[in-house]
Amino acid sequence: MTVLANSSLGKGKRMSFDIKTAGPAIALILLCIIGFLLNPAFLSEGNLTNLLTRSAFIGIIAVGATFVITAGGIDLSVGSMAAAIAGVMIIIMNSAVETLGPGLATVLLGCGCSIVLGIGAGWINGMLTTKGKIEAFIVTLGTMGIYRSLVTYFADGGTLSLDFAIRGTYRPVYYGSFLGLPIPVWVFIVVAVLGWFLLNRTAFGRYCTAIGSNEAVAKYSAIKVDRVKTMTYVIQGLCVSLATIIYVPRLGSASSSTGVLWELEAIAAVIIGGTVLKGGYGRIGGTILGALILTTIGNILNFTDLISNYLNGTMQGLIIIIAVWLQRGDWGKAKAKTN
C-alpha cells in the first residue's frame, strides 16, 4: 500500500515534469502555426533559415547565461560586451590587414582576440563577484556601462567598420552554408550540444546546479564555489565572443548601438526555457527553445501589418507572458500545489 502511494506520487511528478519540459516546445509550435496562418511564406525554407540564423546570436549567448543563472548569478553585461569585443576585433583586423593581408590569417587573429577578450571579460565579472564579493547584478551593471562606453569611445561616437578587403574572406562565416545549413546555425548547434553536455553530463554542471541550489551545501561538499562561479562567467564570456565572431561578418561593423538589450533577451530566453532565475535548476534545451521563441515572435510581427508597428512591443510582451504561462503546464492543477 505504501509502495503504491509512493509510485503513484512518483508518476504524477514525472508527468508534470514532462509537460514542464515540453512547455517551451508547445509554445514554439503554436507560434509557428500562427505564423503560417498569417502568411504561408513563414514556413518557406528561406524564412526558416533566416529564423535559425538570427536565433544563433541570442541563442549562443543564452547558453552561457544558462550556466551563470543556474549557478545563482546574473550577467547584465553581455550585450555591451559583445559590442566592445566586436569593436576591438574590427580595430585589430583593420590594422592587421596591412601586415597580414586580408586573408584567413587576419580573420583568425580577429577571432582569437575575440575569444581572449570574451574569456577575460567573463573572468573579470567572475572575480569581482566572487573575490570582490560584490553582487553580480551590480558588477555586471557596472561592466555593462563600461563596455558600452568603451565601444563608443573606440568608435569616436560613430561606427567602427571592417575593412572591405577583409569582408570577402570573413563573409562566409555568416553568409556561408554547410550541408544546407548556414554556418551560424552550425555554431549554435555545436555550442548548444556542448553546453548541454557540460551542464548535464559533467561534474562541473552538477556543481553549477548545486551552487545555485544552496551555496552552503556546495561549499560543504568541498566544491570550490568561487572557482566554479567564476568559470560560469568565463563560459558566458566565451559564448559572447563566439556570438560576436559570427555577428561581425553580418554587418561588418560595431557601434554603441550594437547588442543593446541583448542581455535582457538572453535572460528572457533562459527563463522562458524553464531555468529558474534564482538558480539551482538549468535547462539548456529550454534555453534554445526560448531563443527560438523570441526570434520567432519578432519574425511573425514582420509578417503582418495587422498590428500597428507601435504595438509590436505589446504583442511581444503578451506573447512572452503567455508562452511562460503555457509552459508552467499546471493549469487547473493549482489544488495539488501545496505539496
Binding site: 518557406s44 561606427t159 554587418l251 554603441s256 548601438s257 514582420n302 501589418d305
Partner: protein, 294 residues
C-alpha cells in the same frame, strides 16, 4: 496588372523627429496606394541595426519586394544587408544616411547633416561676438551627431566665440534639461546654447526658465523643424528665434520618387539632397504641418 511591392524600412520612432518621419511615411503610403491600386507599400520599423537587417531579409524572403526604400539605422552595418536586397533584384532607394559603399542605391534622398551644423553656426556668428560663451548639447553619440558637431565647430573656428563645453543630451528632453541645469550651475556666463535638436531645446528652455536665466539676449538654437518650435518662431518667440530644418518628410519624398520610378516614363534615378534651411519668422509658415506629430 501585377502588383508592385515596395518595402519601406526605417528605425522605430523613439523620438519626435522619427515619429514625424513615420507620420509622413504613413501619409505617403495611404496617398500612393490610393493613387495606384497596383502598388503595395509595406512599412516596417526596427528597433536596432540587426533587427533592421532581419527585417530586410524578411521583406525579401516573405514579401518578395520589387523595390526597397530604406532609412538605415546606421550606414556601416546595413550596407551588406541592403546589398543583399539589391542582389535579389529589387531597386534600392536610400534615405538620409548613405551606405558606406557607393553605387548600391538607385536613388538617394537625404537631408544634410554637416550643413545643418554649418547653418546653425553661421546664425550663431551673426548674433555673437568674439569673447561670447556658448555651450553645446549634442545628440546620441553617432555619426550624424559627429557630422553636425564637426561642421558646427569648423564654421565657428576663428570667430572668437568660446565653446565652454559640450555634452551628450541624446536628443532627449529630460537629458537636455538635466545637462543644461548642470551647465548653468557650472558656468555663470552663457550667451547662447546650441541644442542641435528641438527636443533637447525644449529641455534647455525649461532649465533656463527655472534658473531665471532666460533673459538678456540669451538664445537657443535647436534643429529639425518640430511643429511647436516652428509655431513659436511664427509667434515671434525670442528665446528660440530660429530653427534649422532637417525635414522628416524626406521619407515621403523618397517613396514618391521610388513609385515614380515604376510609373513615370522619364528617368528618376539620382540624388536628391534636401537643404538645411534656416527657418525664421519670415519663412516659418511654409514649414508648419499642424497634423504631424512632429
Amino acid at each position: 496588372a501585377e502588383n508592385i511591392k515596395i518595402g519601406v524600412s526605417y528605425p522605430t520612432p523613439t523620438h519626435a523627429w522619427a515619429a514625424g518621419m513615420n507620420w509622413h511615411a504613413e501619409q505617403a503610403e495611404k496617398r500612393l496606394e490610393a493613387l495606384y491600386p497596383d502598388v503595395d507599400l509595406i512599412l516596417v520599423n526596427s528597433p536596432d541595426p540587426s533587427a533592421q537587417a532581419s527585417a530586410l531579409e524578411d521583406l525579401v524572403s516573405v514579401h518578395k519586394i520589387d523595390a526597397l526604400v530604406v532609412l538605415p539605422f546606421e550606414s556601416e552595418p546595413l550596407t551588406d544587408p541592403v546589398l543583399n536586397v539589391k542582389n535579389s533584384g529589387a531597386r534600392i532607394t536610400v534615405v538620409d544616411r548613405g551606405l558606406s559603399q557607393p553605387g548600391i542605391e538607385d536613388i538617394y534622398v537625404a537631408g544634410n547633416n554637416p550643413e545643418m551644423g554649418r547653418v546653425s553656426a553661421v546664425y550663431m556668428k551673426t548674433r555673437l561676438e568674439s569673447g561670447d560663451n556658448i555651450v553645446i548639447l549634442r545628440g546620441i553619440p553617432t555619426l550624424i551627431d559627429n557630422e553636425r558637431f564637426d561642421a558646427f565647430m569648423a564654421e565657428m573656428e576663428g570667430s572668437g566665440v568660446n565653446v565652454l563645453d559640450h555634452k551628450h543630451a541624446n536628443w532627449n528632453r529630460d537629458d537636455g534639461f538635466e545637462v543644461m541645469q548642470d551647465f548653468l550651475s557650472r558656468f555663470p556666463d552663457i550667451d547662447a546654447v546650441w541644442a542641435q535638436d528641438d527636443d533637447i531645446a525644449i529641455g534647455v528652455v525649461a532649465a533656463l526658465k527655472q534658473a531665471g536665466r532666460d533673459g538678456d539676449g540669451m538664445f537657443v538654437v535647436g534643429g529639425a523643424g518640430m511643429k511647436e518650435t516652428i509655431k513659436s518662431i511664427m509667434d515671434g518667440e525670442t528665446l528660440v528665434p530660429v530653427d534649422v530644418l532637417y525635414p522628416p518628410s524626406m521619407i515621403a519624398t523618397a517613396m514618391d520618387v521610388t513609385v515614380a520610378s515604376f510609373k513615370s516614363n522619364g528617368p528618376v534615378a539620382g540624388r536628391y539632397i534636401l537643404g538645411a534651411t534656416l527657418i525664421t519668422p519670415e519663412n516659418a509658415a511654409s514649414f508648419y504641418f499642424p497634423d504631424s506629430p512632429f
